[in-house]
Symmetry: D2
Subunit: 361 residues, 4 copies
């Protein structure tokens, strides 16, 4: 199994969300403010509804860290749900069922498939877990991974590229979101992740499931509402000649280093990081819960009804961007540990340095 | 570990390529002609160079099948390389090194990163494995998976959507390929996979790494030269309102079945198959080996040189399409076994039927 | 990855211990009293020291269960440490280090190897996690697995077989423990797990890492202080002829069922459950923390010192027995889900029944 | 997934046996004579029957090695079955079934459980794969791992400890085997593996499935006919006081190294290698195919019959010992790569040296 792994748990309106992240080496200093700043960013963004504005998630670490430093042991992360008080009957672990059920399954969600697969009569049994609320814990996990990566001089940034057809113009994007909101409609968009400082040779060409781009694609597509992912020039590759796509290779004699002047490969060739920035884009579909609800079927009565409404965001692409960063951080941290091994930060840094010296001699 | 797994092995010009596929249930009848037909399709397509026309891959099964039926034990697949005779010195397993090395690493390939990562002085040590020749075995593996899926009434089809900017018009695509060829250039494109008959509820919403779309994205992105993948409406989601994207839900009283009139979700909601056709598109970059070679650096002399040429295809999107089908077949077969368990085909078919009866009652 | 998995987390004197168990199907009724009863059993047993008598662990479920029934989503289990108040400075997550360190590493523990591997100067950074306190969460996890297994008519029992050389005589075992205690010494022993009702055919002969006995051996040996494991006749096989070891096969015409009159195989042949009771024995070494401490080295001064004392049990074989049950429950539940698939209890029960009907027709 | 993995394939009387081993770093020189010497050892030993004496397995490498050195790519290993000619009809991949079936399922084998689980009517469909013939490929895989370990100064040895109740006296063991043979009976025994030179800190205490002893136990128990495994003092721990079991710790000022004067832990404490020799013992049951056959049931007629005879060995403990070495080599190589990472031998050796310097300063 991989050196680094995590599981998240928790229902959207349960008492708390949790995650266990295992495999972060010992000796990494954790600045919780950085992690909480990412949690805050996940809750912001133009187009978010009421709930997000009220909530302000804070993560607690309850294992795996001592005196501000990781121990190498599993890190338990907890985010308490602030409105648990209002939900503790509906979401009671051992209380009595009260008969109140969600049966107007929402298109675009896990609701219908979930109740069929898991044989439930209340779509809440599904939607509480399938909700993008789960990504809170991915951001917390990713936040810890980022602290580790930063110590290895790897940094991750992101930006929103497109919303509702508007490219790169934030003010026009806002207008588009206003338009959608006024119609009771929603919007999706595209975000871009850039990872700087990745050593040459993470991932491998030798087997399909060891390719770094494959792992990044899985991680991105695993985010709720993501419907596509591309690396570097991505889908634009279908419009260009080879001579327009591939990045010629040069050598910097001073630094004794190979480099490229272009980066259409997005930092990955042959399933491996090539030392250039890794560039990933992902597309998020519009939020499926509309204020002007879509038609659906009541799973109990089998009658045509309007979909139930759980949330009221118009656009959450900015939030998804933070989740994208987090998943990218996890995949890169995992690949780094696979390549360089190591149980403590100082050993890993030493191994990376020795490796880079070999490459640049 | 998953019930179903495979590893491929072999160098492009080695004696043979091999794969072991483990976890196919017992009792599946294998028609080798179907598998070989896919291998043939992988070698065809407008824009392929000389080598592909000469070669004609045939797979041999040497374990796991008896009297034409799977035993449940691991299936060894072998494809012999027909020009081994000409390569046995250059690729000798235990012979003497002859000093002939590939040092003009090719842009767009694993060559440079591979020699650095694995500390090799001959790029052949890398390119022989990173070559798309490896996908031969994926097609063989996928061919076996398809035989199993067909027995479960699941079928996979595909088509080329775009080549060099030309959409859906095969004759114009050919002209575009001719143009590229005449320039010593190459082209990429987009293909689409459609999977019919998938039961409701493969994959799961409960964890990031159990989502069916995430697994499909990984499988597609793992294919050599693939730079993007999308499901259903995909990147088009960034241009549309929610009301234009989500598929309303209806109920067919006669067949006691939920259905949708549209399929922009591409058959997957909440990380699970929803019973509609699964639709995946992937983009392939143009082949990086150009007859008008790109600039690069000789890894030995560090001098600027032109990239070496290993192959001479102009466009291989049609071949990649077959590989895409194969990887999709593997992922769906794996998800099917995870959901329904089963060690023999008859048990699995019975379990699927009982499940479908529960859903449609 | 397996359908069923878990990770535990938490330090021995941290705020809480946690675990996430993922893959338990939906629809399993959870009786928390059963789980807590196992936690209680883990804390009892003749030979336990003061701490165990004071503590009384209670597990809380904070996700994955609603109205007393599993949802199919990950189950978060939490056990709070009752003496956290006294330890919150020493084990502070983000507080200041106070300079108090454990440097007299204890023989027989992870202490020395851990501080070297993870590059720590305080053995507490290791021993807090390596402590058998961690098994609390395994018992909680196993308790949930047992609820699922019971619903599938599979039951697990155990007994202590030997302590300090005394076989099968509980009163003599107690005397032996008293003797050890009076010397400031400790004792180990052997326990036996019996699993009844396991369907024919869990695990598989087809690959080394799919064998049920291999998985059980791993699970048992993973328990703190376990140094050996055997199945059925186990090490006694080295003293007997084949004719004395193997279980002849008979057929019960009335129940249309194969059976054996003996069970020296311990219920597993060819890496698969054969329908007879599964019988596993494991040996626990004496607790390594002695009241009459062993010689060791101070990792800071490199001087010869006496080992530090963290705990004061004389014998914990009875506790280990409960942990053994729990790990066995997990492995069997995992193998059951691999064989029968299924996302909800009713589907799984139906699939097992159909399978058993095929076997007995 | 682990950096190192392998799958074996092939039926006992099929055309060939195969394995793919993936993750061996680049730059390891392979001496095939060493691997073949292990294959030879696996076929020898007092008590083997006719077949073993005739056969002489030779492994072929057909991928992953070039000019005698590993490339980092998957290594395909093939061992041809020398009597394939005589079996090609009975074991034909695509030929016609000839109706000749094994129905007198053998006690102590996978036969009965296998035909039930996989729904086969011919026990040959099971026994051809469950046969210990499969361990040929484990020895080949282990042979490659040993070449890698030797380059890292790790060596594996083994010895037979007990056969048929006779301990440590080879001549008496032979007499015991003669006695068994004359009765048409069989014998099992115990073997011991010793691994020297293992760095401190392979495996980990932080999670049940990362413990080195757990992985070794799984690997040993996965070998055909193994019914028990112990590490260090093993089951003897149940007879001793703690003061007799644990290894006190000392410090060697000259070499700046911690050490122990005893090794009852068998080189593993807290789930980690502690730098002392790793010592594992495993017990093999007597071969279940007796020349004086056991009673069983014909699966077709359900009548009581005598078990069919596939092989004629009296004792195969010496062979199992070689398999034990091989599995140990794999586990240690895997743990080494997890701890130290690395894609080429020189990087790994450098990382181990840097680590050892940190430990000994």
């Amino acid at each position: 199994m991989s050196n680094l792994r995590f599981i998240t748990a928790g229902e959207s309106h349960g008492q708390l969300l949790s995650a266990i992240l295992e495999g972060i080496p010992a000796g990494v200093k954790i600045n919780l403010e950085n992690v909480n700043a990412d949690l805050y960013r996940r809750q912001q963004g133009y187009g978010r509804g009421g709930r997000m504005k009220i909530e302000s998630d804070k993560v607690e670490i309850v294992s795996g860290v001592r005196f501000g430093e990781t121990l190498g042991s599993p890190i338990t992360l907890i985010v308490k749900n602030r409105d648990w008080e209002n939900w503790q009957k509906k979401m009671s672990i051992f209380g009595e069922e009260n008969g109140e059920k969600v049966t107007a399954v929402r298109p675009g969600h896990a609701d219908l498939t979930g109740v069929l697969k898991y044989n439930r009569s209340d779509a809440r049994d599904i939607l509480e877990r399938s909700s993008a609320r789960e990504t809170t814990m991915r951001v917390a996990v990713g936040g810890i991974c980022k602290e580790f990566l930063k110590a290895c001089k790897i940094n991750i940034a992101s930006r929103v590229v497109k919303i509702g057809g508007v490219i790169d113009d934030y003010e026009l994007m806002k207008l588009k979101i206003d338009e959608a909101k006024s119609k009771g409609d929603t919007l999706g968009g595209v975000f871009e992740i850039t990872i700087k400082g990745v050593p040459v040779g993470l991932g491998s060409h030798i087997q399909w499931d060891k390719k770094l781009d494959a792992k990044l694609a899985m991680a991105m597509m695993s985010i709720q509402a993501i419907k596509g992912v591309e690396i570097g020039a991505g889908f634009e590759c279908a419009n260009l000649f080879g001579s327009q796509v591939h990045d010629e290779i040069f050598y910097d004699e001073d630094n004794r280093k190979f480099y490229r002047k272009t980066n259409r490969a997005g930092g990955i060739e042959g399933g491996m990081s090539n030392g250039e920035d890794i560039i990933i884009r992902a597309v998020m579909k519009p939020i499926p819960t509309l204020m002007t609800p879509l038609k659906t079927v009541d799973i109990e009565t089998k009658q045509q009804v309007l979909a139930s409404k759980e949330r009221s965001d118009t656009c959450a692409v900015e939030a998804a961007t933070v989740v994208g960063e987090s998943m990218a951080a996890f995949v890169i941290a995992q690949a780094l540990l696979e390549k360089f091994g190591g149980d403590c930060l100082s050993d890993i840094i030493a191994t990376i340095e020795t490796y880079n010296q070999r490459l640049n001699k």
